[in-house]
């Protein structure tokens, strides 16, 4: 299994992201619940990249800690960035018209979550789920 980069520039790309992430979690032998959690988190973050970041890319990496394998997804955009990261991670906070569960919800569905962002310099959200 090789690493790959997928574009996130349209609604259809978000669907493609879900399908690729599903295929990767199946290859890794994730349980159905774990597959569903990772795909759902990917869907939330891909939508954020599209809506708030103005589009971007997803890097898909297979990671190996020596004792276990996992899937790492990095959502990268060159959009306006996030001014207040703590606020953005609060349940129910939204700068758009969503439910405000995208970031905070995705964080609950994965094992590791990292958010780097600076106003004007884009956003990178990295999530990892171990088998």
């Amino acid at each position: 299994m090789t690493n790959e980069t997928l574009p996130i520039r349209s609604d259809n790309d978000v669907v493609m992201v879900r399908q690729r992430v599903r295929a990767r979690t199946v290859e890794l032998g994730f349980s159905l619940v774990d597959q569903t959690k990772m795909v759902t988190a990917a869907s939330e973050l891909a939508r954020n990249t599209l809506r708030y970041g103005g589009g971007g890319d997803l890097r898909v990496e297979l990671v190996d800690s020596g004792i276990r394998r996992g899937l790492r997804l990095s959502f990268i955009d060159q959009g306006p960035g996030i001014a207040d990261i703590d606020l953005a991670l609060t349940d129910g906070f939204t700068s758009g018209n969503g439910l405000g569960l995208g970031l905070s919800g995705a964080r609950r569905l994965v094992n590791e979550f990292e958010l780097e962002s600076k106003p004007g310099a884009g956003t990178r959200v990295t999530i990892t789920r171990w088998k």
Binding site: V14, V15, R18, L32, T36, K37, T40, E44, G98
Partner: protein, 129 residues
């Protein structure tokens, strides 16, 4: 343009979602259903999501909107067939679909809709709200 078909079944509407919907398609379904409820004077809407492999916050919101809009139009919505893995993920995501009635499968959903459309007694009307 791609659309999710809406079937008429007596005074109810039946929708079976069989594709991985992109966001615009989900919004189109929301609009089409609202129009169909009003045009057909439907009393119930049954949405079968057994083929859906995930429900994220966007699809969750669309389902909640459909339930709310149909209620305003005097119809009830029942969402049926949610896969267990989807239900587990949805709750962990933080979504509990408030205001959305659910049933395990189509059969139970139809039973729920017909129970809901049975004429209510006056005292029940007073209890409402």
């Amino acid at each position: 343009m791609e659309r999710i078909p809406i079937l008429r079944m007596g005074d109810s509407l039946l929708v079976t979602i069989q594709v991985d919907m992109h966001d615009r398609l989900a919004m189109t379904l929301q609009d089409d259903l609202t129009t169909a409820i009003s045009r057909n004077r439907s009393k119930g809407v049954l949405i079968d999501i057994s083929a859906l492999e995930i429900v994220d916050s966007f699809i969750g919101r669309v389902l909640a909107n459909i339930a709310a809009m149909s209620r305003v139009l005097d119809a009830e919505t029942v969402v049926v067939g949610m896969q267990p893995a989807v239900a587990i993920t949805l709750v962990e995501l933080g979504l509990s679909l408030p205001g959305v009635r659910t049933a395990l499968n189509v059969e139970r959903g139809i039973a729920m809709l017909s129970a809901l459309s049975t004429p209510v007694m006056p005292e029940n009307l007073l209890d409402d709200e």
